[in-house]
Symmetry: C2
Subunit: 334 residues, 2 copies
């Protein structure tokens, strides 16, 4: 394996060119390229350059409409809806963004739902963006079903993450929480299946609802939620906000985010923004005290510390990336 070093701006540029070559409009490609760069910056490789060939394939097969023009509505003062028109999630989110931020500041709280959408990349980055506007952000996105209800066997919800972005009162984020409902990322089970390795106990069940260590069986069965029924509950909350409230299709009916079959997944997102100043004058002080109470404990880490650490390095040194992956991406441009 040949490893290359790339700057973050080279990552963004490569992604932009690839998506445009595969059929995306410049505006749409720009939103997705930025998200890809942010994922690489924070060391979240599953949503970085690894995803670019998938984006390009999905543009070509029509699973995502690269020329989609999102439609933003504001049916009530605090309610913003965006029809992603089976395009990428990112440009739809970008289109509604200033409306959401304005609505939250004016009303104290606002929510933006997105439907007819697609994978939105790293959810925590959207939460962080809300925090950078000085607002508290609670974000949810759902995904094709992979988790069965407790004691059941058929997946009903996806890995359905939620993310919280907490402003630090100085234009940045004091806390970024970003967690899925499952014990382990689906990408880890996919990887083990490809490598023919077993998975760990407690990760998944087979299609008959029994525990399994066989990665291929796990992919046909169901992933297990973190914390049993409580993890399922957290995923159900996300399902109801990101799918039911937004008017997206349910996770159980969504086409997979991987592979070219099934047409557009038509999934959804929900972003809630609170203006802390509308509720309390002491918010930033309390957040600072809370953060210190966690950070000062030996061994304990604030959520998001790993990403911050990766960011500090990649912003200076760039990223190291597999040359073969870059070759596969560049093939879409030639």
């Amino acid at each position: 394996m040949t490893e290359l070093t790339m700057t973050l701006s080279a990552v963004e540029d490569l992604c932009l060119k690839t998506l445009v070559a595969a059929g995306a409009s410049m505006d749409n490609a720009r939103s997705v390229a930025r998200s890809t760069m942010l994922a690489e910056r924070d060391g979240i490789r599953s949503h970085g350059l690894l995803y670019v060939p998938i984006y390009a394939d999905h543009l070509r097969c029509g699973k995502v409409d690269g020329k989609a023009v999102p439609a933003v509505n504001r049916p009530r003062p605090g309610a913003v809806t965006v029809d992603a028109a089976t395009g990428f999630a990112h440009p739809a989110i970008d289109q509604g963004w200033p409306v959401l931020i304005d609505a939250a500041r004016t009303n104290g709280i606002a929510a933006m739902t997105v439907f007819n959408s697609y994978n939105c990349g790293v959810l925590g980055h959207h939460a962080e963006r809300i925090a950078e506007a000085g607002l508290l952000g609670l974000c949810t996105t759902h995904a094709p079903a992979s988790i069965a209800p407790p004691n059941g066997r058929s997946p009903v919800i996806g890995t359905n993450p939620f993310a919280l972005g907490v402003p630090d009162g100085a234009g940045g984020a004091a806390i970024i929480l970003d967690q899925s409902a499952s014990v382990i990322a689906k990408s880890e089970i996919l990887l083990r299946s490809r490598e023919g390795r077993q998975i760990e106990p407690g990760w998944a069940i087979n299609p008959q609802g029994k525990p399994t260590l066989d990665a291929a069986e796990a992919l046909k069965g169901s992933m297990l939620p973190a914390g049993g029924h409580k993890g399922f509950g957290a995923g159900l909350l996300v399902e109801i906000l990101a799918s039911c409230l937004s008017g997206a299709v349910l996770s159980k009916d969504a086409s997979p985010f991987s592979g070219t079959a099934g047409g557009p997944p038509k999934t959804g997102q929900c972003f809630i923004a609170f203006d802390p100043a509308a509720f309390s004058s002491g918010f930033s002080q309390q957040i600072e005290t809370l953060v210190a109470a966690i950070a000062e404990q030996e061994g304990a880490r604030l959520p998001g510390t790993g990403r911050r650490h990766a960011r500090a390095i990649t912003e200076i040194e760039g990223i190291r990336v597999d040359g073969a992956l870059i070759g596969r991406i560049e093939a879409f441009i030639r």
Copy 2:
């Protein structure tokens, strides 16, 4: 042990008289008595009559001000704040309730925070009440700290539950989710400590941060979150909404809900209400499909099924209750 049978209205009446005798105003007592009856109705005994002697003790020692007059404000169209004035949470919530519901309908979404507050009883009942107004409710309340951050040893957050109330489109609730951040209820560890029994592996750590099966050590140490760092994350989300956003004291600084020491806990709550009709016309249909996809799986149960079952029985048969407990409660009236 002598067991008595009581109707639900007798439960409510006994609680009302006891709280008034212990110093609560009639208005304040009425809100708490109703909450107590609802807990017994749904079989949640820890928040039912068992709590009435504690309420009465707390009224007498000044941990809760029975004559408090809550103050409701609406600083922005979608933001409602209530100062519970170190009284019970319930009358503060009741006072702000119509403002929250009106704000949610007008704006599409609204949030009500409560501070200088106290234990709010069964959180799911507040979520259900939002659902009965045809709105989607996401409710949080925090509690004196009992859970340390992952790899830490000092509790920073409480059992911090969240509850979701999902309207069924016909004046009721299709789903009520109500779950704390801990593996097990603190009341279970307290019970085992009193009985000198061991706790189960994975429930708690001792003050040195090591796993323990000793209930008394666990109470001095920290409870473990459900799903490890993801359970802590869910509890942190609740902390930030119910404590930091509301302007209540942090869980780590709150006086205990049990015992008479420490003065008012000054904890808080946050209730978010969404009008689904503002976002999507298909909400009820999707909820119905989602509920069916869970309920139709053999062995799988929708969250809240146990409470519904208890309710169906107690509404007809009343409750069975320990005569000695009733004696202890009636002693406050005589």
